[in-house]
Each structure stands twice: as structure tokens, then as C-alpha cells.
Symmetry: D2
Subunit: 206 residues, 4 copies
């Protein structure tokens, strides 16, 4: 490493690496799977249908950020664990997020949703996880475990040695945040919604 | 746009654009400002000192995700508005996050923190905002408004026309999430912490 | 105190004292004020109208418990500070709870609600507090400060000497919880709602 | 009922009935069980030990209100599902609250706590519920189901006919709130803590 490079801060280098990881993730995400997921969400755009998002820890926070925008777009959306969470039923949708696909509360909630005949859209890194198995549809978002086995040498070069700097679920969570905002972008375009439409529903008091 | 490109989904294109925006943001963020902010945080790594993070809406969610990792690193950290929020005092630190720098609860909480002699570290897009003015130190993270006036033609090209796809505070929030994880990466390196150290403090029950 | 009484645990004595305090509070609460408050809430039972509840700390938790039941009754209700909090406007209602009537976030949120022409229903112990002054209607619920000046000797006897056992806002909060459930009881009766109606809207997944 | 009585509002009558229910509950709660529970809590008053409280819905809100006061008393306490929730282990305590004793997240979290060798203190109406069975100690708080079979004619008279006015878990939740504050009162007395001690740890910024 040259002396010039060594003066670059960890913060800048890490931001760049994460950006490259997102570019990599954009290639990995399958368009067909995404489109089917978006169709499931659009199918809920109906006063009598509800969407419930569920996730634990930092994935749960990403789920909340997504729910806010779905609300801005006019969806009847709720967040698992918050005060205002009505009963789900036949025809409703649960969006269940867990990188590992084994997070207990997510699997438990999804299983309960299945019992009342709600549909389950899972977002996870693991197609063979308990969450994925009980879901109606899954969208795979890459996270760290995936990365470790990555055969693409360039990607491994870029991320491999610095991986410890993205501890625990960080890679999944960063990709997840941007992926969910991308889904919002596509929903806006499909619904012909402008930012002005969103502003009307944005909290005026916070 | 070629027919091949036109078949690329909005989701993929948006993910790529956000990645480029993060690369742009990595250039904008000032190393010296970041280093001083990190020093303020490290100065709180002391059993008798507390950190309180505050943010509203989606910035508040990013603040929570950051707080989780600070806790994993051993900091005595709390989130404004949650159940367990003890009194702040002289020597404690409030990390106040608001893209616009005018969010009422953030400014109000920061002002109250100043009254009890806590130090204020602000993360915002606006150096001349009310939040920035009452803070001891600010770190500027670019967001949309900044972008609109961006003189860099390439960046404008990349983002300008698609800006409506990143509605409201999206650009700030995406950059913020990655920036805060980058701060965690630098804190880990400075403290010589490994992922194993973080795992020990990670919730076992969720 | 006889030896038999002295064997009674603090827990049992305190539960009894709190019960007597609630009986006292039931006399203090003014029927006319309550009825007007209930009319304001019933006026919001309309798909296009929203209710936002706001409170800090333990009063905020009571506000959430109240919001859950309002939701079960079919109101379009939201909790300040949670993920799903849409814009308020003309004709909407904010229910602002603060024993002291000076809690910063409650006053700030209420003031913002006034700016967008929402009506404000305050629940507080202090008719001359900043919160009370900016509200359209107030309901007074007794709390500790009130008690201290209480002229009723019996009440003072019952509570006065043990007051330190109900620290900080405890008396207000306990009364508040029961008062809000009483409002739910009256709303159920006025709306002709049965428990079965509530169950239909109760979270099935938690 | 005389015409004068009939003019009393539902709100006042309900507040009185709830007060009588709390007096009844104070008799039902077993001193020995409470004392053992308080000993388990006091045993956690040690910098290296943690308490985690867990509850769903309105019981979860009561759990949070309890956690706030435990924090004010100097306990190292956390709330299941909030941002700052560290790993539990051997010697830590989980306080699990569920009237029915079958609430999924409470049972799941308690079971996970058992796996890491934390002790479980359950507060429930049902001594034979799944929650009760996996707990190290239980405290029984009466709730509605209990009431329905109540043999005490006076109590049935007082509450029986109005029971629908206390829908769903209301009776348990109201009793729970007051019971938990009574535990705080006893902890204060045992620890020799005054309100001034609590104020020092109360949030200054909210």
C-alpha cells in the first residue's frame, strides 16, 4: 500500500467497499424474483388488504424504513411489534426479513401468518432456510455467508480481506436498505406516483 | 438507451445509482471532521460516560442501527425515545442526526442536552442549520438538496434525472446508513475489536 | 399498627393504597370535561379522520395502550414516534398526555399539530400548564402534586405518608391507565361494540 | 339503581369498579410468591448481571413501564425488542409477562433464555400455562378468566355484569400495572432508596 493510500481513512475506504458490494449485489438479485415480489405488494394496494413487515434487530429497522415509504405510497401497512398492529387474515401479506432465515421471531410470526392464510414474501440470503421454506415467494439478497464462498476473484479481492470490517449482518443489512429503497423506486414508477404524492402522507409532526 | 439496457429493471438500475452516489459521498465526507467525531465517540468509552443517539423517522432508524453496533463495541449507549434512557449530564455525548438540521425533536433534544452540559455531535447535510449551530462538532453527509446544486456534471448526469426515484430524504438516509457502518469499522480497528468481541454482546434472544 | 397488619407486605399495602387513590380520582374527574373529550374522539370515527396520541416516558406507554384499544374499536389511530405516522391536518385530533403539562416533546408535537389545524385534547394534572394553554380541550387527572395540597384529611391520611412509595409520576400514571380504559368502556357502550367486535381487530400475530 | 346514580358516567363507574378489582387482586396475590420474585430481582442488583423484561401488546407496555423504574433504581435492565438488548447468560434474569401464559413471543423468548441458562420469573394468570411450566418461579396476578369462575358473590356482583366493559386482557393489564408499581415500592423500601435517588437516573431529555 503506498503512503498516499495509507492516508485514506478507514471510513472512506469502507464506504467505497460497501458501494462496490452493492454493485455486486445488484447483479446477483434476480429480476424475475423481484418482479414477482413487487406484484405481491401491488396486489395489496387495496383498502381492505393489509401488509405486515417483520424483522429483528437491524433487519427490523430496515423493515420499518421500508414500511414508512409503503405508507407514503398509500399502502395499508403495519410493523410487527408496534402498537398499531391489526389482525391479519386471508389475502393479507407479510413481508418477512431475515438474512439467515432462522431468526426466531421472524419464523414464528411468519408461521402464525400462514395459519391465518396470509401470504408470505421472504427476503433472505438463504433459499434453504426455515423462513424460505414456509414462504410463498422469496427474494435472495446476498449477505456475508454468501460472499465467503464467492468465486468471483475480483469481488473476493475487494471485499474478502476487509470482511471483518463489515461484522455480523452488516453486508446483508446495507444491501437490504438499498434494495428496499429500490423496490420503492419501482413501485413509484409503476403507480405513477411523484414525490409530491408521498409528501402528502409524510408525517408533519415529528 | 439500447434495447438490452431498457430491459434492466428499475430495481437494478436504482441499486447501481445508489452505489455510485455512495462513491460520490465518500469523496465529499471530510476526513478531518470524521476523525474529530470518532475521537468524541472514543472519549465516551468509559463506564461513567453515556452516549445518546437521536433522530426522527428513517434517520432515527439509522441512529438505532448505529446504537446497536456501539453497544456491541462496549459503549454505554442509549436511544432517545426508548424505554431505557437515563439522565445525561456533563461529559456525556449526544449524537444528533437530521439531514435538514431542522427536525424539531432532534433540535429540541439537542438543546436540552446542551442545557445539562452534554456535548453534541451533529450529522447533517446543512452546516448552517439550527442543529449545526448549537452543536459542538458537525459531520456533513450529502443528501438530496446538496445534490440539486451539484456542479459535478457526471454526478448530475448519473443522479439528476432519476432523482425523483430517491424521494424525500432517501439519498441522505442511504449515505447515512453506510457512513455510520463505516464509523463502526474504524472504531473496531482503532479499538482492536474483532467480530468475536461483538458477538459476545449481541442479543442472544430475539 | 397491630402486629397482624405489620406482617402485610409492602406490595399488598401499596396495591390497596393505589386502589383508594383511583376511587379518589374517580370523584375528582369532571364528567362534563370527560364527555366533551369523548365527543371529540367520537367525531374522529370517520375513515378520513385520524387520531394521533402523544406522550413521553410512562405516560407515552399509557398512550400506546389506549391507542391499541382505539384501533380495536375501529378508529384510524397512530402513535407519535412510531413508524407508521401519517401527516395530520385540518379536522384530525391529537390526544396529548403529560401530567406536568410541560414535557417538551408533547408540547412541541401539540404545537406542530396546532399549526396544521388539528384539534388538541390534553390530559394533564395542570390546567395552567403550557400544554393546557394551547389545547382545545383539557381533562384533568389528579397526580401527585395535586395530592400534596389535598385538603381531604382522609385522603391525606391514606396516601400522604406513603407518598414516597409512589415516586415521580406514578400516581398520575396509574390513574391515567385506568381512566383511559374507562374511556374505552364508555366508547364501547356508546358505539354498541362488544368484545367480539374488538377481537376481530386484535393482532393475531404477536 | 336510583335516578341519581344512573346519571353517573360510565367512566366514573368503571374507574370505581377497577379500583375494587385491584382491592380484590391485592388479596389474591400471594405474599410468599411475591417475596421470592423480589429476591430474584434483588439478586440481579449487581453490575455484571442483567434483567430482560418481555411482554407482548399491552402487557409489553406494562413491562416497559416497570423496566423504566428498575433502571431508575439502578438495575441493569433491558426490554425485549428494543434497540439496546445485549446477550443474556448464566445468572441473568428474564421477567416474562403474559396473562394467558401462551403468548408466542413471550414463550419463545423465555425458552431461548432458558437455553442460555438465564433464570425465568413469570407473571401470569395461569399456573398451568406453557410459560409457567418453563419458568423458575411464577407470580399469579388475577385476570378475567380467573374472575369468571370467581366464587366470591360480592366480587361477581361488582364485576360480573360489567365485565364486557373490561374487554380482552384489560383486568389483567390494570392489575399488572399497579402490581408492578407495588414491586417498585417494595424494592425502594428494601434498598433504602428515596425519590431523589430515582430522579438522578430519570431521563433529563424527553
Amino acid at each position: 500500500m503506498s503512503s498516499k493510500e495509507s492516508k485514506e481513512s478507514v471510513v472512506k475506504r469502507f464506504m467505497q467497499e460497501m458501494a462496490y458490494y452493492v454493485l455486486y449485489a445488484a447483479k446477483i438479485v434476480k429480476d424475475d424474483d423481484v418482479e414477482k415480489g413487487i406484484d405481491m405488494i401491488l396486489d395489496s394496494l387495496n383498502d381492505s388488504k393489509k401488509i405486515l413487515v417483520v424483522g429483528a434487530g437491524r433487519s427490523g429497522l430496515a423493515a420499518k424504513a421500508f414500511a414508512m415509504r409503503l405508507m407514503h405510497l398509500g399502502f395499508n401497512v403495519f410493523v410487527f411489534g408496534e402498537t398499531i398492529t391489526p389482525a391479519l387474515g386471508d389475502g393479507d401479506l407479510i413481508i418477512s426479513i431475515s438474512g439467515s432465515g432462522i431468526t426466531k421471531v421472524v419464523v414464528t410470526a411468519s408461521s402464525a401468518a400462514k395459519d391465518v392464510k396470509a401470504r408470505i414474501l421472504a427476503i433472505t440470503s438463504h433459499a434453504d432456510s426455515p423462513l424460505a421454506k414456509l414462504s410463498d415467494h422469496i427474494i435472495i439478497i446476498p449477505g456475508r455467508t454468501k460472499m465467503a464462498a464467492e468465486e468471483d476473484y475480483t469481488i473476493r479481492q475487494i471485499l474478502g480481506e476487509h470482511e471483518p470490517l463489515a461484522p455480523l449482518g452488516t453486508l446483508f443489512e446495507i444491501t437490504l436498505n438499498i434494495f428496499l429503497d429500490s423496490v420503492i423506486a419501482e413501485l413509484m414508477q409503476r403507480l405513477g406516483k411523484t414525490e409530491q404524492d408521498l409528501k402528502k402522507r409524510h408525517a408533519t409532526i415529528e
